[in-house]
Assembly symmetry: C5
Homo-oligomer: 290 residues x 5
């Protein structure tokens, strides 16, 4: 798979939050003014070393023509953050079928090697989301498209979303659905999360686990935790959004590259920090992007 | 796009309220008796300078034959104002598919260069409306039809519909859906709304923002605010209904022209007022309407 | 349109209440024993002068073969009167598509120039009914079939179903859907209903308004009100059921003819009463029934 | 119609209760041990004189090969008795389309001249069931298949399921749907039910009324009531289950034959009792079974 | 049927709990560490003597290529254990159609002779699940695929899930749906469950009953109960998961073989225990696997 550059590990740049969190992640104190322009995401994705850039088809359709060399992941469903779990059980429906993604891919000539879908396991609408995810994965595999599922246990039935055993269950669920990658939360409710996280990685079997580095703003802490997730716990990649795009363009690109250096090339944290600070260049070996 | 006459800005005449507000906007004190006849809308749209006239397909089908030169926007969904948010979460479903609009367009020979859909973000039925909107936009783009989404945060989860940050989120949502234009409310809950509104315009990126001038009855105030929205905040056009069609025919046409003069030709408020008062003529350069 | 005999006004004989009101309208004190046999409706419709006979497809399928010269209106949805608004929001779904009506029409050779659908505006299921009605109208027009919508504001959100302004809104809604005729209730909650009713007729524009003569049993009062609806308020026809079919066959036929004489031929109330009492014959000029 | 043997009256053997009542009707005190084997139903249906045997397609598929000469009625929907009306409004969905029944009929070579569906009128899910029933009847008639609807008023809105006027409404509803037969309950809440039942028979018009003989265990009482339903009230047949299949095979067959003798041949109760007791043989004239 | 090796009895190895119970059944005290790797299930299924291995299509798609000789049962629906019955009525939807299973089967070349579906009878969503199950069975039989339904009475309406009479009803329901096998719970709420269980086996008729051996950890007790279910009560096979896969690989294989020896070859409990302990080899006669 060219999106992992042969490493088997995926650096996923998450840019789907304009729907999920509305403008909270893009404008306000501590966020670079660059980030309020949706094109910021494309500028980063096109200049940095990433595996794929996950975002909604609407954005790909609007900006893709000017950024034709990005490997896109079309995120098929999203919901806003307005309705909280205390009000109603979480649910999110696919906007498009994989067949439509494929049709768009052909018409536009863009590279969309992957699709994604979010499941709220434990929601009373779980059955609907499991169905849509299973159909997405089935249709993706028929077409040689990579499938990624975001699985978050959520709803009145879920007391602790960060419980390691529950997160491992979510990871196993991703495997049982046949996804290529499953994005789960990091089990922060545990004395030694990096050990606890191994349960999830193992439970996912051949389905690779993506994890966020957490919301830590400190770059060293963030990269250290990422390194541990990958090389202690055995994660198959990362999915990072805010820690990248809330930075000004140049710094965002350098953060992307620092992450990729760890994820794809396996460098240590100090080397990654040099890349982040701009003291060192980073370039992945290019494969043919199909 | 000929509906913007090359200006990139859209003067949208909104005539979809016979469903949305039943007869409240069309009959009663302060409303011209002309307005109770649905044909009033067509008389205005056909004689005034507008970008497009947004209304339901049913009205287009019934009157379009006699008004073949209007650029129509087929509004695909609408709901009545009867069920209030306090009673039930807002929801509105598409009446027709874009394929049906297209089929009608071909049969009737009418110009319907645009389609529209309203989303109540934050409603518990949000998933259904996001799906339908995404499908409308996808199908519209396949056929070279302009797509406009009206996005109003509404429902038990929405405490303040006029919050600037939330409105900016709605604008960004329109962009993430891939719409050409997003109609949002003006962030009146802010000390300096025209500055606050810039957040939304920027968050929408390449999706252009349409805004109502507000419910102000005073023409100068109305046109001043419109001018500010466009040339201070950077809006991509307007969507105006009641401030036009509640007036007698001649005055309604002059108001349309005054608005168009600002939106499309960028004239100042005084010049627009001259047009509104009939002291000055206004004519847009005609492009070929396809 | 042959169903209006060139008058532009429609005499609709409503025979859909076997579903809507179960046996309440057909059996009991003050109702002719004739009325408990469903064939009574067909006997009336076939011998009297009517514009069209509105009933369910099931009845048309069962009796139509023996009554091939009636102009039928296939009522596509109906609900029973069992679940009251206080218990649950009103909803009624289409039993058949227009394509199926058309297919049946072709197979049976029967004349079904019109279809109908009831919408409960203000119900929480309004979106579903607006969608189905819009689809019915779209499909009917594609096939040259007349469309009639019954629009009744109903549900927890509707405080006064007979409010003139609300009824005018319902009339305008029918127009916005593109229906040929809209059946609404008479605004009895008004000092001068026949003046008040004009708001509705005007709001409906080119969509013609049908109205019931009310539940008055007195023939003169009933016909007077009908005359006023048509020639004072400007209604486009009537929809009458119980005031016809609850009478014995001969009297029912004479009532039909009296109504038609007013609606289609525009006779005055005294002349209509002569027809009703049998002192005078009434025959419409026959057009070719297609 | 061969299922009525030219009498116009239908002897329907109801064998759909394995879903409707689970094992309550098939195992326990007062029930023959024979009845716990599903094949018991087929043994009866194949050896007794019946019009048709109504049961689920699943059973027909499993046993039909060994009982190829039965006239089957495929019951398209069923629900279990677990969820009571006090807990939730009753609803039952079609398992198969008529097209699938037809396809199965062709593949299996079995005789399935009829289909059936249960409607709970007055349930909040009534709209869904009316739609499915109407579609079943439409599709059945296209294919020359007899349609039977079971209509039971039920739900929070129904205070008295045995009210004669309400039952007559259900009968009329069956007619308005276009069904060939409507199975309704007997109006036991009336001083003279056999007179009261006439209202229903008449209200059903050309749709024939089927009625259960009631739950009476005494054979004479059961057969007397059946005779009255048919020849006093004018019913078009019977639908009997438990009073047949809870008996041992031989007695069950004799009960079937006694019922058929009344329904199809119109014998009196004494003669039917002779058949039931085995003192007399009963054989219907065989028509060609198509 | 080759999955019963001609015995008419099915040894079903249940491996669908990664969705149903998340990671609870796969990781924790008393569970072999082997079990946290999803491949453990495939290792067992490929080396042990089993009738079929029931699991989700996603797992089959991911691992099947390396385990091409297993007879798979594609479990079409599953739900997580997060939402408890006290919170919401149980519901589970099919992820795939049988047509998709068939298509996958053809593309992959894997042996998938069976499909399965779980129904929660007595849930308020029962109608939806009965519909999906009936459709699965219909489509499976068209293609010569074996159908298995898991039927568990569950929901607010079900007071005692282990009531023998209710379980017999579930068994009969499986038969009425036309399934080949029905998996039900063992009626532990009875003084003599193995006698009580006969009611269910008989009620299922030609639909064969599968039963779990129970959660007993003691091998002798487990195998004794299994033997009784089969040879006292007349069950048509077993469905066993945790009692197999929670053991280390070698022991799991031996347990599988011990179960198969009882189910398929009908050995006694002592002989089965010898196989489980490894003192004796067990090999089924191989048929051609199609």
């Amino acid at each position: 798979m060219n999106i992992t550059r042969g490493s088997g590990r995926l650096m996923l740049f998450a840019g789907d939050k304009k729907m999920e969190n509305l403008n909270i992640d893009f404008y306000g104190p501590g966020i670079s003014p660059d980030d309020n322009d949706p094109e910021h995401l494309f500028r980063i994705a096109s200049r940095a070393e990433i595996g794929c850039f996950a975002t909604q088809m609407g954005l790909i359709a609007r900006y893709g023509e000017d950024y034709p060399h990005i490997n896109y992941l079309a995120k098929l469903n999203s919901k806003t953050n307005l309705v909280k779990t205390a009000q109603a059980e979480p649910v999110s429906s696919a906007f498009y079928s994989v067949a439509q993604v494929d049709e768009f891919r052909e018409c536009s000539g863009l590279g969309i090697p992957a699709v994604g879908y979010t499941i709220y396991a434990g929601s009373e609408y779980e059955a609907q989301m499991l169905h849509e995810a299973a159909q997405m994965i089935y249709a993706a595999h028929q077409r040689g498209i990579i499938s990624v599922v975001w699985i978050y246990p959520r709803g009145a039935a879920v007391k602790d979303e960060r419980d390691p055993h529950l997160i491992a269950g979510a990871a196993g669920l991703g495997c049982a659905l046949g996804a290529d990658f499953v994005k789960i939360n990091y089990p922060t409710n545990h004395a030694d999360p990096k050990q606890a996280f191994k349960e999830a990685v193992q439970a996912a079997g051949r389905c690779k686990v993506l994890c966020a580095g957490g919301s830590s703003v400190d770059a060293r802490l963030f990269l250290e935790r990422l390194w541990e997730q990958l090389f202690v716990s055995g994660a198959g990649g990362n999915a990072t959004g805010r820690n990248i795009h809330q930075k000004p363009l140049k710094e965002a690109i350098q953060m992307c590259n620092a992450i990729s250096a760890i994820v794809v090339s396996g460098v240590n944290v100090n080397e990654a920090l040099s890349i982040y600070s701009g003291r060192k260049e980073f370039k992945l070996k290019r494969n043919n992007v199909g």
